[in-house]
């Protein structure tokens, strides 16, 4: 008996495949990016320029950092991008499939780092502040990704997360200005999320509408309804009550003691409530999904609903309630927009974060921890873009604003071939 299939024609490192493969494209893009960045840096930045990265002492004034890391801009970039270029060559030639995702992440991450160094050439930047911002901005993306993965793990595509967030942001804000209590606003946002998700569940699980169409309907509804609310209610109310609005954004809650730890403190322990909740939810949902009865059943229903049905698990009921529960998380993300990061409501203020969240979910292979990683990748694009707008810097603002969307494209195109979604995702379940 042959216990294992021998693979005489296939090298152990991976399959050498012909034609235009993902690995070759990814490797080539990596090389191009590295070359472009090296070219840009050497032509636009003087060789004597130094970029200083500051690590501040929490509580101490800005000009007394804990560490001060001066990096010669051009040399650092040339070394880093040079190495990435070589790695790109390796990826293109040897096609190590399992390293493609890591390579894509490295290209993106170090491209950000390079842009940061470029922007602060001849000046300094607070590195910890950048990282804390990355975590903060990852909040809606992570929450959206968690909501998405609860749905998808049970077999329902939810591209309506963007719209759900927008609904929640609007109704949360309305509740907050009406009651004068931001926490009641958060509660309203959670409820709104549930209701909107329940609509998606009703359409896609019960009425078996195509899930992508159902999600799109929610997104279109959200833009219409919240636009109506802002024009017809929020703006007039704000004007009539003038400065008498009593509620304000959720407060910052530095955790005593922990927040004082250098580096880690500001990054992890000096945030507003929803950000903390996001960090906790990542681990809680990871535990729920992989270690509890609910998680086991959810995974089964999303992968092979028939198998779950034959052992008496009510497939559609579980899907319905999972989608509704995901609305709580989307609702929390919505609250982040209008009640935590700022205290106002703008038209279409979610600006695609719900979709980027889905990309983060795919990036993380439908696991909570992975999705958090993906969210950090996207939010660093955001954070970078915001952070370096202050520096007078060669790239126009609009191109920096494109970064999160470009990164999403690169990640989706570069990685998705390796990721396998839950097998039953998108398929309504019918008995028999």
């Amino acid at each position: 008996m042959q216990g294992t299939v021998t693979q005489p024609h296939v090298s152990s490192g991976g399959n050498i495949r012909r034609g235009i493969t993902r690995a070759r494209i990814v490797g080539t893009i990596g090389i191009i990016v590295a070359t472009l960045l090296i070219f840009a840096i050497t032509s636009r930045v003087g060789a004597d320029k130094v970029s200083v990265l500051n690590i501040p002492q929490p509580g101490a004034p800005q000009n007394q950092p804990l560490f001060r890391i001066p990096l010669p801009t051009v040399a650092t970039v040339v070394v880093i991008q040079g190495l990435l270029g070589v790695a790109g060559l390796y990826v293109a030639l040897r096609q190590p499939l399992r390293w493609i995702a890591a390579y894509v992440s490295a290209v993106i991450g170090f491209a950000f780092f390079t842009i940061l160094l470029w922007a602060v050439a001849g000046s300094s930047v607070d590195l910890v502040d950048v990282l804390a911002r990355v975590v903060r901005l990852a909040t809606p993306i992570t929450l959206g990704a968690l909501a998405g993965l609860i749905c998808e793990r049970s077999g329902v595509v939810n591209i309506g997360i963007e719209g759900t967030m927008l609904f929640s942001a609007a109704f949360g804000y309305i509740a907050a200005i009406l009651t004068g209590n931001t926490w009641l606003g958060v509660l309203a946002a959670l409820l709104t999320g549930c209701l909107v998700s329940a609509l998606h569940a009703l359409l896609s699980v019960n009425f078996k509408v195509d899930q992508i169409i159902s999600g799109t309907v929610i997104n279109l509804l959200a833009v219409g309804v919240t636009g109506y609310l802002r024009g017809g209610f929020i703006s007039p109310y704000e004007q009539s009550s003038g400065a008498t609005l009593t509620a304000q954004a959720l407060p910052g809650l530095p955790i005593p003691g922990l927040a004082q730890i250098p580096v880690i403190g500001p990054i992890l322990f000096n945030h507003q409530p929803i950000t903390y909740l996001m960090l906790i939810l990542v681990f809680v949902i990871n535990l729920l999904l992989f270690r509890t009865v609910w998680g086991l059943r959810t995974r089964a229903v999303g992968e092979q609903p028939k198998a779950a049905d034959t052992v008496g698990i009510p497939v559609n009921r579980l899907r319905f309630w999972n989608v509704v529960a995901s609305g709580l998380i989307s609702g929390l993300a919505g609250a982040w927009f209008s009640l935590e990061s700022t205290f106002r409501f703008d038209d279409v203020m979610t600006s695609g974060r719900g979709f980027i969240a889905l990309a983060a979910m795919i990036f993380g292979k439908w696991t909570p921890l992975g999705a958090f990683g993906g969210a950090l990748l996207f939010s660093s694009a955001d954070a970078l873009q915001i952070k370096i707008q202050g520096f007078n810097f060669g790239l126009p603002r609009q191109f920096l604003q494109m970064l999160p969307y470009l990164v999403t494209l690169v990640v989706l195109a570069g990685i998705i071939g390796r990721a396998r979604p839950p097998a039953a995702v998108g398929k309504p379940y019918e008995k028999g």
Binding site: L220, L221, G227, Q398, M402
Partner: protein, 404 residues
């Protein structure tokens, strides 16, 4: 094996009529349901100084109708409004046929308008017979390429077009913003960020109306096909409307009478079978998305060359997004796009009159439109309300998961 009882026989005229009725029934009922719910909202939000609640409801819908169809100018405005909807709705429909969901029509529309405008004002001295087609083609090609990329990514990497086209939307908005606000295409003499006006020879001329004086249009004199000073004929309907109708016919013909259309539909109905039958999924995805993008681009070009004559940073008012609704309302039938788009245009055109007559905020129309979308997409709800049996036949499925 279940045997179907009522099988369609050869498609005779009578059967076609019956099929048409069946196809139109659910969208019509969806619209009806949305209007009834709209009436209920008006009922409850009716201002007290305008008569009884019932009178307000009647006045609101009468105003809506009069605003959209009550006069020659109103009808013309409705058709003007419908023009981009026809083209963009067609764009979404073509993608639907290939099993692709193009949410990127809005971005493609921006790219098309940008390219057309650029060709329209940078090149001078060409006769209209060359300049206008050139500007239109520029818009279609630019938007076609913009649309083709997500098609290629979907086919070759599995990146789902629903997400990638949305990302391309955001990128397009930023790109247009760059060119118009801080970039090279801004008209430095204008206080608000916009491009210069296009050459008169690049315009999509209005059919009838007065000359537009040069002092309002940055030195260009835009001449309608028939010049008149009669205020009753001062209408904005332009050649773009005919182009849109022509596009409907071409797309219908392409989809139903050509090998290309057969391939597109087969890939959409069953990609596995299409591959087995020797069709290239990649080719058809790229081709379809390019075609879809080009149509959306034409919608943008029409707005830029026929109405605005320049491009501002806030250019479209969501024509690309609403086009999804129109495609759904038309059940992805190219011909049905025309009534669906006119309906949508009528709602947009008539809402001002409705507000003027009743004091009901014209934003209410957005809610009604949202409800229409919901009932059309979730036709099961309408079927359930009105107890209509589900018909057999082609059903589009988009949720094939994010992988291949």
């Amino acid at each position: 094996m279940a045997v179907q009882v009522d099988v369609p026989l050869a498609p005779t005229r009578r059967h076609r009529a019956a099929a048409l009725f069946r196809a139109a029934l659910v969208p019509a009922l969806a619209i009806l349901t949305a209007l009834v719910i709209g009436a209920i909202i008006i009922w409850f939000s009716a201002p007290s100084n305008r008569g009884t609640r019932l009178e307000v409801v009647v006045a609101a819908y009468r105003g809506l109708f009069a605003g959209a169809f009550g006069s020659r100018v109103a009808i013309a405005n409705t058709l003007v409004e419908a023009t981009p909807y026809i083209l963009a709705g067609l764009a979404v429909t073509v993608a639907f046929k290939c099993g692709l969901f193009n949410i990127g029509a809005e971005g493609q529309l921006f790219m098309g308008a940008l390219a057309s405008t650029t060709v329209g004002f940078t090149i001078t001295g060409l006769p209209a017979i060359i300049h206008l087609p050139l500007a239109l083609i520029a818009g279609a090609v630019a938007a076609g390429l913009w649309g083709a990329i997500p098609g290629y990514l979907r086919a070759r990497t599995g990146a789902h077009e629903v997400i990638t086209t949305i990302m391309f939307n955001f990128i397009a908005f930023r790109l247009v913003d760059y060119f118009i606000v801080s970039g090279p295409l801004r008209d430095r003499r204008a206080s608000l960020p916009r491009t210069p006006f296009i050459q008169a020879n690049a315009q999509l001329p209005r059919f009838v109306g007065p000359l537009e004086p040069a002092n309002l249009t940055g030195g260009q004199e835009y001449r309608p096909l028939i010049v008149t000073t009669d205020p009753g004929w001062n209408i904005r309907l332009h050649l773009g409307f005919l182009i849109a109708l022509l596009a409907v016919w071409i797309i219908w013909w392409l989809l139903n009478r050509t090998t290309t259309g057969f391939e597109i539909r087969t890939v959409g109905a069953n990609p596995e079978a299409a591959r087995y039958a020797g069709m290239s999924i990649t080719k058809n995805f790229v081709l379809t998305m390019a075609l879809s993008g080009a149509l959306a681009g034409l919608a943008g070009a029409g707005q830029a060359l026929g109405l605005e004559r320049n491009m501002k940073s806030l250019f479209s008012s969501g024509y690309g997004f609403d086009s999804i609704a129109i495609a759904l309302l038309a059940r992805s039938n190219p011909i049905a796009i025309i009534p669906a788009a006119i309906f949508w245009g009528a709602l947009n055109t008539g809402k001002g009159e409705m507000q003027a007559l009743t004091g009901i905020s014209s934003d209410l129309i957005r809610i009604i439109q949202a409800l229409v979308i919901m009932f059309v997409a979730a036709d099961q709800i309408v079927r359930w309300i009105f107890r209509i049996r589900q018909a057999h036949g082609e059903q589009m499925v988009f949720s094939r998961g994010w992988g291949k």
